[in-house]
Amino acid sequence: MTLSHCIVLALILCAIGVYGLLSRRNLIGLLLSVEVMLNGANLNFAAFAHFRATDPVAGAIFPVFVMAVSACEMAVALAIVIALYRGRRQLDVRSLEELRG
């Protein structure tokens, strides 16, 4: 277990999140993918804090804030999902095509 391995793991999580964002069709699925990505970023912080940082406490605190922020983001996103679902009765990302050009 080295720093590089941890970071590569985090980057893989980032790419997995990207894969999900690009291939999922359900909007909630997209939001799940974003969570995977953020998880990777948190891992990055923790890894740097553990192995390298001169100020490890900061690296330990940052992910907690990230969790709070992503909770806010999800709350808002899901509210929008509900508003959208109420109007359209579906959550297909491909149906979002009224705004274009």
Partner: protein, 475 residues
Amino acid sequence: MSLLLLPDLFLLLLGVLVLALDLLHAKKPSASGSFHLSWTGLLLIFALLLALPYDQQFVWLGSYQVSGTSLLCKQLFILSALFTVWLARPYFRSGGNKRGRLAYQGEFYGIIIFASVGMFAVVSAGDLLTLFIGMELATIPLYILAGYHKNDHRASEAAMKYIVMGSLATGFMLFGLSFLYGAAGALDFAALKQAAMAAPASPLLGLGVCFIIAAVGFKLTLFPFHMWAPDVYDGAPTPVTAFIAVSSKATAIIFFLILFHGPLAALHTSLQMPLLLLAGATMTAGNLGALRQTRLRRFMGYSAIAQAGYLTMALVGPRAAAWSSILYYLLVYAAANFAAFFLIAIVGRDREEEFSSLRGMGKQNPGLAAVLMLTMFSLGGIPPLAGFLGKFLLFAAAAQQGYYAMVVFAALNSTISLYYYLLLVKEAYINEASEARPMLTVEPLQRTCLALLTTAMILLGLWPGYSDFVVTVLR
């Protein structure tokens, strides 16, 4: 504690008060209490900001620093919030807009104010965490605002697109910040600056900067991260569009300024190439995209993308030139954009917000048409309006580093932009095509705001002391 912190605290307090006041009025949807409270409060805070000294600096708790430049940025944010509040007022009355009446007025103003608190935090941040939270606080509320027309498919669609793209940007931002943290070992700017000076070629820094440019590029609508912008501008309610176009973009470019001319200044030389490429691509994409639009807000979206390109170009300049030209341009850009959005709001009261709705304006409302023409000229950078000097300073900032080819490219781009801005002017002066339409109604508030903005556009162009002033404050 220091007096310098007062605006931030008052703004926070104002947000809470507006939300609290709204609870009292819960039964009356069109009550105007929160509106009046919001704008008077914002106006007072603006006055306070003007009164504070620019030559002092105050660091609060090690992570929040107020200086002259941050005060200048805050003035810009407050003005933007203020005009957004004024712009939004008719949207909460029935008949104020063709798309229907908005509900939850108090919350709307509260959210605008809280978003401005986030922007304040961005310009005052002393470490990466505060910067990140500030950026999120300046963004997440906008997702809500974009979907404020709850019953309108297009608004929900816009909000959804915005939040998904925004979340990806947050992810990039976090990766970027984590790499910067990894490179610096701590979160504060001082450590970052030291690390950047010690090893400017570190790949960790490079990765961090890439991710951060991408993340902030979303907010600044840099190509190819700009693609949400036309859709969101089109779908969101007009006041929100204006707020996104002005405040959010300003936050993003100031974020770059703070980072690239502050802690990461050691990387500035190597950053110039990528920034210029992005800037060139952005202005071209924006200008080409705007050429064939017919919907007003979408058009403004593309125009704003192009402006972001010009702004980014100035980042490569030396510190004083970059700061002064960008802040001056932001002010000018804010005035012109708000004027345009006020016009769109006026048109959108009874008509679709499309080019053809402008027809007949030259005959029926010659004053409005003249304001439209001035606004478009200012956006197109025609002297003696402020837009010219703004562009001139941006171009000069880039030219100071010897990027002459880029300046010509940008200047030619602004010639293209003139073409489509004139398209709008032409539309306004074309006679009514077929059906006779009633005249556009202009509320006194809108009239006052337009007068203020037009005066600003002219005066800023004639007495551009502001940019000079920024340089003084920077020293």
